[in-house]
């Protein structure tokens, strides 16, 4: 099989992995090596589904001995199979990198022969790139569930980021849909990587030249909509992963039906809007210090599809508002619907020299579409009067109409953008950030 065919099969097979981030590590260029890494990461292209391409994201092999129901590569289906060699992958990575197509390699794999055999192939590829080719760009490696700790430790020496995909948000679902994988096979490697990372951090405090272990941290991915877990369960799980394992990112992937296995739900289209709301909730937890308990509870275990989670929280907490923009601290500003990091910083910067009114806010580029219901400027509400909750709900109730007759097509819905203009949910969806 020629390389073109392999790339089509194994690139295509990797497309359901959401992560393509190349950020989180800064590694200056070094003499005799090719490449560097910028902390902010670089996107090189955007594919037809609007997702950023930053890394060459491929499976090493799609031969699989396991049989997970939700997966297109499971053992029981017949489909074209292929495997790279470490040499082929190293050459591809170097060729693409030299042409500025990519920031580096994201290498994952199906479980070919056995977890250890597969993990070894990934390790060999990374070692070839780092040691023989002198590649100094970004490498993201999958930790294969069930692989031995020693292989995972070695891989972490070459990788900037590692990830183990949890995929299914509960043990019960895992048992049902991925019978070959045990919970420990997934959490084991994740725990080991987490331990090595924190040990390495201590070591580097004492010896600054000690080599870094997985400096950009770990991430994982959860499939949304293939199994019955509520948003509450999912958000709690993510929160726990951030706390207990120090994960850098949890990605959410709207379930795309790839088989007619009777254990799987029938969906007309992937639940993109739900995925989008989860990213928003995740963003609130990571950047704005919200807790899962503030966003969801047993009485309301699902995120409101009609309203972004911050607006939802704000409407449930009228006692927190209004927030006076000339006095509120940064954290308080961040809790205002419609204000994000950038707006909050601008407000704080501008008010140092000038007391702000609504007109000033507009001028410095703060969108008032949603925020105006929750703030005061010099003690005054926007256009003088307070409005009722229903009215707020109606006005920001972010969705302002669905295109009839195309049921289920979440990306036909329209949203108010932060800039106050209309924009498609589609523009926010699939950006995998959830920034609000």
């Amino acid at each position: 099989m020629d390389l073109e065919e392999k790339l089509r099969i194994l690139g295509g097979a990797a497309r359901y992995d959401v992560s393509c981030s190349s950020s989180g590590v800064r590694r200056p260029a070094r003499a005799g090596k090719l490449g560097d890494c910028a902390r902010y990461g670089v996107c090189h292209s955007w594919s037809d589904d609007g997702r950023c391409i930053s890394l060459l994201k491929v499976l090493f092999s799609n031969h699989c001995v396991y049989d997970c129901a939700y997966c297109a590569n499971r053992a029981s289906v017949s489909r074209p199979r292929a495997s790279f060699t470490p040499r082929e992958l190293a050459d591809l990575t170097m060729d693409f990198y030299r042409r500025n197509y990519i920031e580096g390699l994201f290498l994952s794999s199906a479980v070919w022969v056995s977890p250890d055999y597969t993990m070894e192939r990934l390790l060999l590829t990374a070692r070839l790139l780092r040691q023989e080719e002198g590649f100094n760009g970004y490498i993201h490696l999958k930790a294969i569930p069930g692989a031995s700790p020693e292989l995972i430790r070695q891989a972490g020496i070459y990788a900037d980021r590692m990830s183990v995909n949890i995929e299914l948000p509960s043990e019960g679902s895992l048992r049902l849909l991925a019978p070959d994988k045990r919970k420990e096979d997934i959490l084991g490697p994740m725990g080991e990587v987490a331990e090595h990372i924190s040990a390495n951090r201590e070591e580097r405090k004492r010896f600054r030249r000690a080599p870094a272990f997985v400096p950009a941290g770990q991430s994982t991915q959860l499939i949304v909509g293939a199994t019955p877990e509520s948003d509450l369960r999912i958000v709690e799980l993510a929160e726990g992963l951030y706390r207990r394992y120090g994960l850098k990112r949890v990605y959410y992937s709207a379930f795309v039906p790839v088989s007619d296995d009777p254990r799987l739900p029938r969906l007309e289209s992937p639940p993109l809007l739900r995925e989008h709301r989860l990213y928003q909730a995740d963003w609130l937890i990571r950047h704005y210090h919200f807790t899962s308990g503030e966003l969801l509870d047993e009485e309301r275990p699902q995120l409101d599809e009609q309203l972004d989670p911050k607006s939802g929280w704000a409407l449930r907490h009228p006692e927190f508002f209004p927030v006076e923009v000339n006095r509120a601290d940064y954290e308080e500003l961040l809790r205002v619907p419609g204000l994000g990091v950038r707006s909050a910083r601008r407000i704080i910067q501008a008010r140092r020299v000038h007391s702000l009114d609504f007109e000033d806010l507009g001028k410095i580029g703060v969108a008032l579409k949603r925020a105006r219901y929750f703030i005061t400027c010099r003690g005054r509400y926007y256009s003088g009067a307070r409005v009722s909750e229903e009215e707020i709900r109606r006005n920001i109730g972010t969705l302002c109409g669905t295109s009839r007759g195309r049921a289920g097509k979440a990306n036909q819905l329209r949203l108010f953008g932060d800039d106050g203009g209309l924009r498609g949910v589609e523009d926010a969806i699939t950006s995998a950030s959830g920034e609000i």
Binding site: R15, R98, R99, I364
Partner: protein, 249 residues
Amino acid sequence: MGVILVYDGGFEGLLCALSRSLEEGEAPDDILPVGAGAQGSLFADQVVVEADPECAMRMCSRVCECVSRRALRKCLYAFLSEEEGREVRILEYLRLGFQVGAEVDSHLHRDFVRAVRDMARRTAHEAHRMRGFLRFRLLDGGMYYAPMEARCDVLRLVAPHFARRLEGQDWIIHDLVRGWAALCRGGEPSFVEMPELAVDLCERERRVQGLWRDYFRAIAVAERRNPRLQKNLMPERYWRMLVEIPREH
């Protein structure tokens, strides 16, 4: 009768023009690059300001000391945005800067502070895009060649990035819009005029490009197809620089 200051079109020249109007204390009607002001005005004299490297250097250190390094950088980036009217905005920004010091950036309620910030941001953004969108093609003879069509004059900003990262690789970044290029054969990049260049791709190049296109198509999830989002993030004006071409085309 007002004056219009005419400078040579470069950043150094602009600094000299700015220095002069700040010293004189009288605001010029306009500051224009040579050539742009040819139509002249009945009500203003045109005064040509010579670019003087020493004067420009002095101005730089004054801005750094009395305002901030950040402000100087902002002025440079705003200048590189090539937006019409940027010179006078920069002048107003610096004039306030010399009054209030580093705090000038907080005066966002003033139009020109915002204007300078926005122009600077546009340039920075464009430079960042180029770091992503440039595509090098391997030519016969071992040189890597990347054509560039950027909206702002970012060549000097992006060249050092590639000099660091593509160690041991010879390359040219060709700014097709402005007719010049950065050239790097190890070490520091140099800058040369380059109106046009006929290039011959090497044999292997076509194969690698084909592989990249294969990958580009394979990685998209059909069920999530979203050309509008794709275009927002990767505007069509850059597609000619790319090797991969989005589906519709």
